[in-house]
Symmetry: C2
Subunit: 194 residues, 2 copies
DNA sequence: CCCTCAAATTGACCTATGGTAAGAAATGCG
DNA sequence: CGCATTTCTTACCATAGGTCAATTTGAGGG
């Protein structure tokens, strides 16, 4: 086992029970990769071919529309990130994934990941568990977008990702929340006072 | 095999390749259930314990907030529906699932579904595939909620679920789109004219 | 066939958020 | 340290969508 994979190992063990030797074999397929701040892990019109597990650092996934960035997800330590649509369908992505900090990650290719899933019941179950959890958090997000106003979404974001508020520039949090930086600035002013 | 399960069989075969005898065995665990219009498949504060496959009819999943309905999903023929969060976590749901038409469905309990998943690699893969697809469509929805205005979301809804526009009252489509019935009415007026 | 009730429309008005622009503050780099 | 660039704030006005109330439309039951 390589040193970089211990966080990943812990994370996977937290998801489902996997026999030690299976787990060790899986970890061999993850390759350490490093991205400097502003580097891209994925760019529009590529086919997403790597799933990343973030060991340290921070990345954002976003798409462009009329030159405007719409952030879909932040991924930090112990998060996975990929464009699932492109990764699974082998079609071109419409997303970018970009490092917001110098980032150390472990990458696994589509073919290798698939091979792992197909090679063992435990891995397939692990894949299902990851997909289940993604779906649940995506339901939360889409419900919140129709149910809550921007102030509530910001308050929730601070509660759910407390570390990120200091690490992500405000205009990107605004983008993630679906509002303008100006609106977020006003919301923050309101919260400090009455 | 029971008659009601042929649609489900077709649907499952479309997702992943499953040996015929495994598939036949699985179908035995699905029980036909019927709901009259307005009946509830699931109510707030229950633990979601059944996953439904809709053979015919139409249901909505929604939650209440200050007496207002926020519709999260419509499920019609050949759709699955469940509150994934509650179903997987065994915690109380905050959703309702209610029939909008007389509905014939196939239900499988959490325990039986889990047993099927655990019993065979093919079923686990099928479960993963379903979860993957849910996640992808949820990503689409949440992206659209931050990226598109109400007019675009309505146009997309008509394109993606063309049958539903005639079967679902307008005020429910509005709720699904995250706007008021009045706004949807104005949007429709605009679309007819300029 | 009418009556009733729910749904849809419309109009007037209101509020949250967006757009633009400018300046202030913070950050990063030579 | 100090300049340059990015980010944040503020102010002003514009707009999408919300609220409320009044009609109108439409569907189902008696």
């Amino acid at each position: 086992m390589i040193a970089e994979s211990s966080q990943l190992e812990t994370r996977l063990k937290g998801l489902v029970r996997v026999p030690e030797d299976d787990l060790a074999r899986a970890l061999l397929f993850f390759t350490p990769v490093f991205f400097k701040k502003t580097e891209y892990l994925l760019s529009q019109d590529q086919v997403s071919n790597q799933l990343y597990f973030i060991n340290s650092g921070l990345v954002k996934s976003y798409l462009l529309q009329d030159g405007k960035e719409h952030i879909r997800q932040f991924a930090a330590e112990n998060d996975f990130i990929v464009d699932l649509q492109s990764f699974l369908s082998r079609q071109k992505t419409s997303f970018f994934i970009q490092a917001l900090e110098d980032t150390a990650a472990l990458a696994i290719s589509f073919d290798n990941l698939n091979m792992l899933f197909e090679s063992s019941f435990h891995f397939m179950k692990l894949g299902k568990t990851l997909a289940d959890q993604s779906a649940i958090s995506l339901i939360r997000r889409s419900v919140s977008l129709v149910k809550d106003d921007a102030k509530k979404r910001y308050a929730d974001f601070m509660k759910e990702r407390p570390g990120l508020v200091q690490r992500v520039p405000q205009f990107m949090i605004a983008s993630y929340l679906g509002i303008t930086p100006e609106s977020l600035s006003r919301i923050r002013k309101e919260m400090v006072h009455g």
